[in-house]
Each structure stands twice: as structure tokens, then as C-alpha cells.
Symmetry: C2
Subunit: 274 residues, 2 copies
Amino acid sequence: MELISENRSFGGSQKVFKHPSNTCGCEMTFAAYLPPQVEFGPVPVLWYLSGLSCTHENAMTKAGFQEHAAKHGLAVIFPDTSPRGAGVSDDESYDLGQGAGFYVNATRDPWKSHYRMYDYIVNELRSVVMSNLPVQDRHGITGHSMGGLGAITIAIRNADLFESLSAFAPIAHPTQSDWGRKQFSAYLGDDESTWAEYDATLLLQEHGWKGDLLVDQGSQDQFLDLLKPEALADMMARRRQPGQVRIQDGYDHSYFFVNSFAGDHVAWHAGRLN
Amino acid sequence: MELISENRSFGGSQKVFKHPSNTCGCEMTFAAYLPPQVEFGPVPVLWYLSGLSCTHENAMTKAGFQEHAAKHGLAVIFPDTSPRGAGVSDDESYDLGQGAGFYVNATRDPWKSHYRMYDYIVNELRSVVMSNLPVQDRHGITGHSMGGLGAITIAIRNADLFESLSAFAPIAHPTQSDWGRKQFSAYLGDDESTWAEYDATLLLQEHGWKGDLLVDQGSQDQFLDLLKPEALADMMARRRQPGQVRIQDGYDHSYFFVNSFAGDHVAWHAGRLN
């Protein structure tokens, strides 16, 4: 992998790398924050999956994780949200194609040759990170919106690989939302039974999560109808899933919301990883 | 003035406004963070002046001031860096014209009709803020790079209006730098005696600053030759100016640097404003 940029941040280092991805069939970019504690040995990893239209860069520059990661001694990985490039299929809408991988393995043309973000995160990028950065094999995962969906689905389906889980305004029930049905139809086809393994609420219903789960959701989020936090809150209560859904008064869907609660989430993960 | 956007942030509100500016002869945009404490009454104001090529938005989204302003109960104002618009003279280079007002009152054509950022900040925008937002008439000022220069020059020349002063990697001695000589020639003309009132080191030499001064400067800043922190540090020592220039090991000129020390600067101002 190749180092693209490096900036000192809160005593640690904010780096950006690119690497050839076999899984996605293109070059992929990701950002990694390494806290000052790496000087003394490997640190646990917090994965932050971003939302629709984002790259590795948005949360790296706007979400304010570095301050808290430096305090608690966690590395933070910011992957991209889809395969990229001229040879990668795309769609003119912001919510399908590049920038909108939905953390699934596509099975339909024209998407299936590159759109394998589930495998990319769980296997390939995880391996790249473990092999090249000073990190322990202890992982937490969080994300925002589409990335909150990715965090919950990836953690529940790989409970052996992740110790801690949280989400910011996740797309909670995509099989019943226009943020989900459109994309799953395209990426996975019309057999809705194949969609369930990418739906946070359905996975929670089926498997639960081995630990406790922290979800923050702004009460003034402009996308509440698409996110459907009530489906996840209902399922957590029905299933007696340890954890909490916090409705944060007045907050919207922006990075100002994520930034405001980044400290709580990093502390949550640090308490379960350290 | 017109509200353009509003986002809940750390229990307060990050707002963006536009207003017609008589001083600049165009519409101007600025951002204002109001901390949760405004619910109980007016709060002091911290002004953050941005650097070359920035708008009101860069620091608002990347510098992380909101968290600290909310903790200490300060409003933060993020002005734009120049007049804007189709009718406003510009230059093809990034460091002259739009995005590069240098916080001076231009006296030469074609700049003098719009480029009056000194008066805009000190008089017009200050008045707009005081009249429209729940703030006290207690002000601190800081800024980054060109904005650090603006903060130091504006504070020293208006010591009755500002109680506290700091800067991040300021252009310290513009009359002896290519970040300064080019712009002052264009905006002010070739009589260099007119430049001194916009040079931080020369103003400090002449007047000092009534309080103590905090300056942070990254040791790996890619623009050290243009910023000339040694001129300011030398003058502070010669003049026995209370304060400190901190050379921060490994930091560059980016917002990752500003973000890393935003907490220290907000606390510094809060200690002198509250």
C-alpha cells in the first residue's frame, strides 16, 4: 500500500493510503488515524464506516474522532464507501453506484464485478490494516447512516471479529425503506430473501448482538422516514438486546451531529476494547 | 441578515448568515456558533479569522471549535476572507483577490472598491453581530495563517475592542515575505510605509499587545519560510511582550494542526473573557 498523505494530529498521525484491491477490482483509498500510544505498542482498532456520497475523507476531516482516539489510545480506520474509477459502474443518482456501496456483495450485473464492499471491509481491508499498521487484533465498529447500517450488519454477522458496536443515525431497516429497496434490488436482485443479511433490524431479530449496542439518532434528522430508527428500537426492546437508542434533541443528520457525539462513541468503544 | 443554515452542535447551534455589506459593496457570508449557555444570557465572542483560499465554512467544519466553545460558553464568529461575487475584482492566483483579502483596506484600483476587510471585521461585521446575536461586548480574536495575521493586527490596533489574542501559524512579518509584499503592493501600492499597519511584527514592535499573546506554530509547517515565526518570536522577546510562541513538534499548516490546539486556544480566550 502507498502512503498518500500524513498529518500530525493530537500527538498522533492522520494518514491516507491507497492500495490495489482484489475484492473490488480497483484501487481503493482509506484513511487511518494512529494515536500517540502506538509508540509504545499496537493499539485496538475502531472502524468508522461512512454514509452515502462520502469518501474516506469526510469523517476524517469533519467528525472529530482524532481528539478522542488520541485520548483513549485507539486507531481509527475510515474506509471509502464504494469501489471507484472510470472502469467501475455508476449511476447518476447519489444513492446508487459510486459512493453508495451499502456494504454488500453485489450479485447482479453490472454491479457484481466491483461492488463487494462487505468482503472488502471484513476480509481484505482488515487484512491490509492488520498486516501494515501497528494495531492489535481487537476491533470495534461504528458508522453513520449507510455506514451505521454497515457497522451493525458486519458486526452481527462477524461477532467473532468485533468486540464493540455503535452507530450514528443508521439506516435501520433498509428492506422496508427507499434507502435499501432500490439498492438491494439493483445489487442483489428481486429475491427479497437475499436482502435480509444486510438489514440491521432483521439481523438483530435473528441473532442479536453479543454485547451492548449504542445508537444515537437526532430528533430533527431530515431523513427519519428513510432511517426508521423505530424499527431498531422496537426490535431491541422486544429482543431484550442490551444497549440504548438515544434520541438526541434537535440534532440533524449532518457531521455536526456526528461530531457532537464522537467523544461518547469513542469512549464507549475504548471501554470495551481496552 | 438572513439565516442560511442551522445545525445543532454540542448542545448549541452552528448558524450561517448572509447580509448586505456596505463596507465591501457586496453580500457577505459568515458563520456563528452559539453555545448552549446563550439560553441563560449573552456570552462573550471569539473571532476566528481564516487563511488564504478559505471561506466562512472551512474552520466551521474542520477546526473543532464548537466542542470547546460549548464547554466554555463562548460564541465563535467565522467571517469570510474577502469580498465575493461576479462584480468583485479577482486574480487567477490563490493568494490575491477573492479568498485573499489579507484583512486590509485596499487603496488601489481595481481593489479599493470592495477589498475593505479590515473595516468590515472591525466595524461592520462587529456591529452586525452585536445587534443580531445574543453576545456580550467582550471579544477575543484568533486566526490561522493570513487570519492569524489579521487577528494580531486587528487586536493591536483596536486594543479597546479586544480582550484576548492568539494565533495559529500567523503570517508574522508580511512586509518581508512573499505572502505580504505581493498583496500589499496590489492592495496598498508601492509606498511601503503604508504597509506597516498591517504587519504583525512591526505593530508589536511599535505598540505591543496589552495582554499576553499565545501563538502556536507547527515545526513541520510547509510554509515556514513565508510565515517567518522567528520575526515575531524575536520581537516578543526583545519587547518583553508577555505571552508564548509554542513550536509544536511535527505539525504542519493544515486544519489537523488547528484542530489539535483549538481546545487550548478556546480555553486561553475563555480564561481572559469570562
